[in-house]
């Protein structure tokens, strides 16, 4: 068990060191194209995790306890207070849910079978700096939902998901040295039904 801990700490330190080499150790970092690309990957990785979690939570084959565990993991991706704003093709009205409520509703959907898949396409915005110094961007992805009810009725939709991404330069002290790294958190998500 101890050795696993050492390996984990070692990997973590290596990750921080890589970050330190990638990004300048300044309080007001400027993002050069290479660094932007690195942050892109980091942000997209979080979105990839989220899409994976959504597919698991929505899957009717996922046991209740496992779905709850995945919801907790998914919540760790988000900044506090993040919401989902959902609208359909029939109504432009946006309904707002807390992220946890959204996951719970997804878990409780009344279908016998559910399949959630994602299109290849993704679009990543510029990162813009906000007054507190954090950077904010939006990643757009497309999801296909298929649900089959007990009586065999099939429902399917395609939704566009615009996901807020917050990027923040943080520091941690390791061996008396301050090491900088970039932290990515997801924020509000706009979900709109669309046509393929």
């Amino acid at each position: 068990m101890k050795s696993i801990k050492y390996i984990f700490t070692g990997v973590f330190l290596l990750f921080l060191q890589l970050n330190t080499q990638l990004f300048a150790q300044t309080n007001e970092p400027e993002l050069a194209p290479g660094r932007k690309a690195a942050i892109d990957s980091l942000a997209l990785e979080k979105v990839r995790d989220l899409s994976k979690y959504i597919s698991i939570i929505g899957d009717k084959e996922t046991p209740f306890s496992e779905a709850n565990r995945v919801i907790e993991r998914a919540m760790e991706l988000f900044a506090e207070g993040a919401q989902m704003g959902v609208s359909s093709l029939n109504s432009q009205e946006v309904k707002y849910y807390g992220v946890r409520t959204y996951f719970r509703r997804l878990m409780a959907l009344n279908y016998d079978k559910v399949k959630i898949s994602w299109f290849n396409i993704q679009y990543i915005s510029d990162l813009e700096r906000q007054p507190d110094g954090r950077y904010v961007g939006v990643i757009t992805i497309y999801q296909k939902f298929e649900g089959i009810s007990e009586d065999g009725m099939k429902y399917q939709d395609t939704t566009k998901k615009d996901i807020t991404v917050f990027v923040e330069r943080k520091q941690t002290q390791i061996g008396g040295r301050l090491i900088g790294f970039w932290d990515v958190l997801l924020g509000d998500i706009r979900v709109s039904e669309t046509t393929q």
């Binding site: 997209l44 290849n120 396409i121 679009y123 510029d126 990162l127 813009e128």
Partner: protein, 265 residues
């Protein structure tokens, strides 16, 4: 340099689920509208950085500009569109959109509940610099309810507090403030009610509660002698996403009046 970029990633997120060409064609974000308008990304959404050969390339840009219009809007004639493209893509003096410092603002139609009654209020927001970055700020509000409470009138119809009222310690204020239909008549010439303050006050009192956003569009005054609006079109086909939904030639001298028209003043 405050703006940075989350470059487009080639590494796909999902799987191939059928024809995705409409999603590629779609102007998916307002950010993408800016990039396409300025020719700052490839057809696949790969961002060009300043210094790249194709960054803001005028020849390639012409093709982009052509697809950024709502093709179903007959009021944007082919001739008008071509004049606009020729102006913004002028080889000697092209015009590019500026996200942070340009003259543009957002109009948001939002549904509120006012003491049990639904009403649409138009919120106008613009970008403002603050400390280390930028933020959207409310700068104007329009509500039919507020404007009907404070109708503008010809000066001769206005009620007034007579010029010798001071001799009676302004005791006629008692009548003036009971005359709620004409309260604004007693204010200074040129008085304009501040609907933004009224909105904030009503929300703070708990009389007005936000329900939802029903519509969003953006108004642009960044091109000399032109005005255009963009809106999001959620429909099938390739001509979708954020597109130019309105286009008009507006001389610089008339732009201020045009803004007032947009603010429903």
């Amino acid at each position: 340099m405050l703006i940075t970029s989350l470059a487009y990633s080639q590494d796909p997120l999902g799987e191939y689920l059928g024809d995705e060409s409409a999603f590629y064609a779609e102007t998916k974000q307002v950010n993408q509208f800016f990039r396409r308008f300025n020719n700052e990304e490839s057809k696949d959404g790969v961002r060009y950085n300043p210094g790249d050969k194709k960054y803001r390339d005028l020849r390639e840009r012409k093709n982009y500009l052509d697809i950024l219009f709502d093709a179903q809007n007959s009021s944007i004639t082919r001739d008008l569109k071509q004049q606009f493209i020729a102006d913004v893509n002028n080889e000697t003096n092209p015009t590019f959109l500026d996200f942070r410092n340009g003259d543009w603002f957002s109009e948001v139609a939002a549904k509120f509940d006012y003491r049990g009654q639904e009403q649409i209020i138009y919120l106008y927001l613009r970008l403002e610099q603050d400390r280390k970055g930028y933020k959207w700020v409310l700068h104007h509000v329009h509500s039919d309810k507020y404007s009907s409470m404070m109708p503008e009138k010809e000066s001769e119809e206005k009620k007034f507090i007579h010029p010798m009222s001071h001799e009676l310690d302004f005791m006629n204020l008692n009548k003036a403030f009971q005359d709620t239909d004409h309260l604004q008549d007693y204010a200074v010439k040129g008085y304009k009610p501040d609907y933004l303050t009224m909105l904030l006050y009503d929300i703070k009192r708990g009389d007005l509660k936000f329900k939802t956003v029903t519509d969003v569009k953006f108004h642009f005054f960044q091109v000399d002698n032109w005005y255009f609006e963009i809106a999001e079109f959620n429909r099938s086909g390739m001509n979708r996403g954020w597109l130019i939904s309105s286009l008009a030639k507006v001389p610089e001298t008339q732009k201020e009046n045009f803004r007032k028209y947009l603010f429903r003043e």
